[in-house]
Symmetry: C2
Subunit: 425 residues, 2 copies
């Protein structure tokens, strides 16, 4: 380990810039046990104004892949295209890879891990999940003595920022989203965040680490936050809950249930107190209990920190399988049938305030054997719209979906009903 570790970086946005800057600090080399030397960098636009000097510029990712380097750091993003090509070329050429690319690994992780391990290489991705929180390392190397029963996380800072703002300001989703875009907390096309897709990518990686399975997006139920109304937030508070977009993967008798969905989280539990753009993960380890991790899930320094930890691990020769167990031992995720999964639910119905409406809804729910724990009807405006809100006892997602289909067609129900699982009570 005497020679320097030669690093090639593709992508010099916020995170890439942070990595370049942090690597210039000399104290890291004591940790790494050798020099850390950037031998090549590339990005879309060489002339963009950056806070650091561009050195060893190469034209593009094709040129970068050919540079004589030990590690390629991929910070381009995207689940195929140049990022995939670069990572494949780098591994095939015998170079370790560090990436922050959750989309790429959620889609191609099992195959890329196998490729890396055949070659005796590292493929590290701490920065891909929950920014600076070292949850990938924790699941891969630390929480390994016992079976993981479940992982639950707030994995998307944009959604958590929007939900937090909706709660503190009482303003509706669309207004808060516009502000978040103006302040740079949300992309101009926010669909990957608010639709739950980004959380899904991260959850797929956490589930693979937790359960020794291949990352699997296809069997995951994914719902975003765009349908959450201000009154859902207000009702949640009234019942003693907060609404959080959670990625949840849990083992059950029927297999592993993975889902991304807005969830009611009890105000007394740690996930409920994760505010703004922070991320958090709860890993529920059998016998050893829940472990909770919380920190900044995005931004230059937290994410750069995660990339740097991976680079130093590689410099030290800390290898180990990409997903904790060897890629050849990863099994396809045994997906639990989505409909058999159970939960208690918050249900909201927007109805006309006419006699018999509650009886009709209650009747439909009863047909699906859904029983009600508590109910609130707000406002009294005969003939006009009012909200009926219920919390159910434990039932199945299938039952709620079934009941909703029959309720939605009623002429007394004036907008699609809303369901939110009660996840942490």
């Amino acid at each position: 380990m005497s020679g320097p570790l030669r690093i090639a970086i593709a992508g010099l946005g916020t995170v890439g810039g942070g990595v370049v800057a942090a690597l210039q600090s000399k104290t890291l080399e004591d940790r790494a046990g050798r020099r850390l030397e950037i031998v090549a960098m590339c990005a879309r636009d060489r002339n963009k104004k950056r806070g650091f000097e561009i050195g060893n510029w190469v034209g593009d990712t094709h040129a970068l892949a050919k540079v004589d380097a030990d590690v390629v750091v991929e910070l381009i993003g995207g689940d195929d295209g140049p990022a995939l090509t670069l990572v494949e070329k780098a591994l095939k050429a015998g170079k370790h890879v560090v990436t922050a690319n959750k989309a790429l690994l959620a889609r191609h992780g099992a195959r890329l891990a196998a490729l890396a391990e055949e070659k005796g290489l590292s493929l590290k991705f701490e920065a891909a999940v929950a920014g600076g929180i070292p949850i990938v390392k924790a699941l891969r190397e630390s929480l390994i003595g016992y079976e993981v029963a479940a992982v639950r996380g707030i994995l998307n800072g944009t959604c958590n920022y929007i939900l937090t703002q909706m709660e503190s300001s009482g303003r509706p989703f669309n207004d808060v989203l516009k502000d978040a875009q103006a302040f740079g907390y949300a992309e101009s096309d926010p669909s990957l965040d608010i639709g739950g897709g980004d959380t899904a990518h991260k959850l797929a990686l956490l589930a693979a680490l937790a359960f020794g399975t291949m990352p699997d997006l296809d069997t995951m139920a994914v719902r975003g936050i765009a349908h959450i109304a201000s009154e859902d937030i207000a009702f949640a508070r009234e019942f003693g809950y907060r609404i959080k977009l959670l990625g949840i993967a849990k083992r059950s008798q029927n297999g592993i249930d993975q889902r991304v969905q807005p969830s009611m989280v009890s105000a007394g539990t740690p996930l409920a107190d994760v505010h703004g753009a922070f991320n958090a993960v709860v890993a529920d380890v059998k016998h050893a209990g829940p472990f909770f991790f919380d920190g900044r899930g995005a931004g230059e320094a937290p994410t750069a920190n995660a990339v740097i930890a991976d680079i130093v691990d590689i410099a030290r020769g800390n290898m180990g399988p990409v997903f904790g167990i060897p890629a050849r031992a990863l099994v396809p995720l045994p997906a639990a049938p989505a409909d058999s999964a159970t939960s208690a639910f918050y249900l909201r119905f927007q109805v006309l305030d006419v006699p018999g409406v509650l009886a009709e809804i209650a009747g439909r729910l009863a047909e699906w054997r859904i029983s009600i724990e508590s109910m609130i009807q707000r406002g009294r405006a005969p003939g006009e719209a009012v909200s009926i809100v219920m919390i159910t006892h434990e039932t199945t997602y299938a039952a709620v979906d079934g009941a909703f289909k029959t309720i939605a067609v009623s002429d007394k129900v004036i907008s699609p009903p809303c369901m939110i699982a009660m996840e942490a009570r």
Copy 2:
């Protein structure tokens, strides 16, 4: 890495038993990449009833140190005696060491780390701090891109259990301690826990990891929880705080300030919501922000999990310096002068309810330039004992100590005044 990792275990109490049981699970070997084989074990009493079979018994630690093994797992405890002898012998004989022994490493960590690194060996101690929470690995390998500004932790489950019970039941310290002893949450001699010594050992290790310094108990200010009265807990709640025993190490202009002390923690902050026997650590990383870790700090499975993670790291060849940077680069801790450290404080005075008493106390505080933010005087019982409680603006520990000395001699003050730093506001 084809041969088995040969493990010798000294100490078969709760944690040792958990390690033996967990090592029998075969899934760990996929992670380790090789067989994990217990080749020797010893404990004080061979005939004690245990939940697992004793195999490869050796007479004592002297015999254990001579066994042909790759790793020695030291779970005996104690900061010298057989534990120290065993660890030294093992390292000198070229064996890696895994230990849960915070007292040993807080005293001898720098020397033992140097010995291990000279020989190219690992000395791992995840289980020594905060049980199952992977905070040692997080500070050693993950939160390394930027300077750590401070670490704060609830590191002793016994103290946190007692403080939580005092709060929920309103009962005094001595009663709650007796119950905790009856339920097995506190030792029959609880002094190492309630006096803060155990927290001090763990803090010394966290500070070494966070700041690249040698573990240093000698410059640490340590106070326990035995003087906390039920009314302090009640007043804390009234001000919106909880009292927690914290280990705190923070960088300041004057050096590093390490202290163990009961602290007022604002009810809205994560540390305040750590209940019962749980542990938690906040690592405040410059630029990247605070990271919060929470989980079970003791008990069979959480602690065994930490020991196993260390064993698997060694099996994989994941080495790296004991305290994150090479032992030869560790510097003596540049201790900040304890008296120059500043904080706001909660102060409680037990006084006779006679005219002039408040004026006298306020006068003494003013002489030390301590200014008061808020004040409560409870009860009106002319000539009898009442409590005066104050929260100060920022001042120095030295000023409060000085003022207390002059106030304690007053004939109107009937018991030693109580001070609790406001740590997380």
